[in-house]
Symmetry: C2
Subunit: 208 residues, 2 copies
């Protein structure tokens, strides 16, 4: 049995004390993967951004807000894990400058310079020891399979799960699991609980 | 007894199909106000952005996503109401351009031009008939009372509730209710249910 890190949910990147950039990730896929992993006898650590979903109480939960916090918590937790599944949708841009007071409206446009945040899964992929594995998720609106394969390579993942934007904040998902050779080793469709069980079985089969 | 429109929760302004700008408004204050208003015998229509809070089933609920949708739904609903309480935190900036496909990361900074969205409470304030009333909310990080009074005037409100950023996504709130003369007619502190009941009593007393 393995100890598995699951990142889950969105992160937030604040512009000022009130406004932030994020996405609609609900944490449901991460929660379903955690349940499936625990049911299959694994130990689970979840690093999650702000969500209203319930995670299984048998998992250890580390709540975070920003992408940097998710990176720090995930890197620390990964050191003691056999593998990681990056089901989170970390906010990948952040304002270059964060205002300490609420930005007052002036009637004029606001120019915002966004810079890329750290890539959590890529950092785990780079840091993994030979006996550790990393499964990424790729959410793309076009050229899904091709872009997922590029991401797998770039982020040093062992497997990548390709899905579309309709997965976000939905009860259902429609995914392809792609290996390092770029081959689709599973196509799974259904509610997130079903998809999570099938994914966990395939991941265990391929990586343990 | 009155028919009251309550706007509640945050709105979202998308940059592309995945990323959006928002705030952490939970809808709890709006839900608590709806419960208090119904308990006091009023009829309630709620126009709410995406939240996970439960609204009372006795209220009519109109779900929206963007600030423009909140404006359209609120303007339409307000025509049949005696008054409106703007407890929502509509996202007040939106990207000038919305990308139809997910923006791909390039490693370079992203320049985002944000323009102001319509001000929902100000539009209701401008449109109100002589027998209608509008109560606004002002969330400020500095000069709270002064800025709330300016907002009351600018948005043609009859009363304004001043609170701070610690109100967001919290169970508690600490508010001042300010009238058109700039006088603080109530200072209320406690859980949002208590604050909502006290606010509804004061609003009824002042405006009906």
């Amino acid at each position: 049995m393995a100890r598995i890190l699951i990142t889950s949910g969105p992160t937030r990147q604040y512009l000022d004390p009130v406004r932030y950039l994020t996405n609609a990730s609900s944490g449901r896929m991460g929660a379903a993967l955690a349940v499936a992993a625990i049911d299959q006898g694994h130990e689970v650590v979840i690093v999650s951004g702000p969500v209203s979903v319930d995670y299984p109480s048998a998992a250890r939960l580390i709540p975070v807000v920003t992408t940097d916090e998710m990176l720090a918590a995930s890197t620390a937790a990964f050191a003691d894990c056999d593998g990681a599944i990056g089901a989170a949708a970390p906010c990948d841009y952040m304002p270059r400058f964060i205002q300490t007071q609420k930005i007052a409206k002036t009637g004029e446009p606001l120019q915002l310079e966004l810079v890329e945040t750290a890539d959590v899964v890529a950092m785990l992929g780079q840091k993994k020891r030979p006996n550790q594995w990393v499964v990424g998720f790729a959410l793309e609106t076009e050229d899904r399979r091709f872009r997922a394969t590029v991401k797998l390579e770039k982020k040093c993942c062992d497997l990548i799960v390709s899905n579309g934007p309709q997965a976000i904040d939905s009860n259902e998902n429609d995914v392809e699991l792609i290996n390092r050779e770029g081959a689709v080793i599973a196509s799974i469709h259904g509610d997130k609980e079903h998809v999570a069980r099938e994914l966990m079985s395939k991941i265990s089969e391929q990586l343990s």
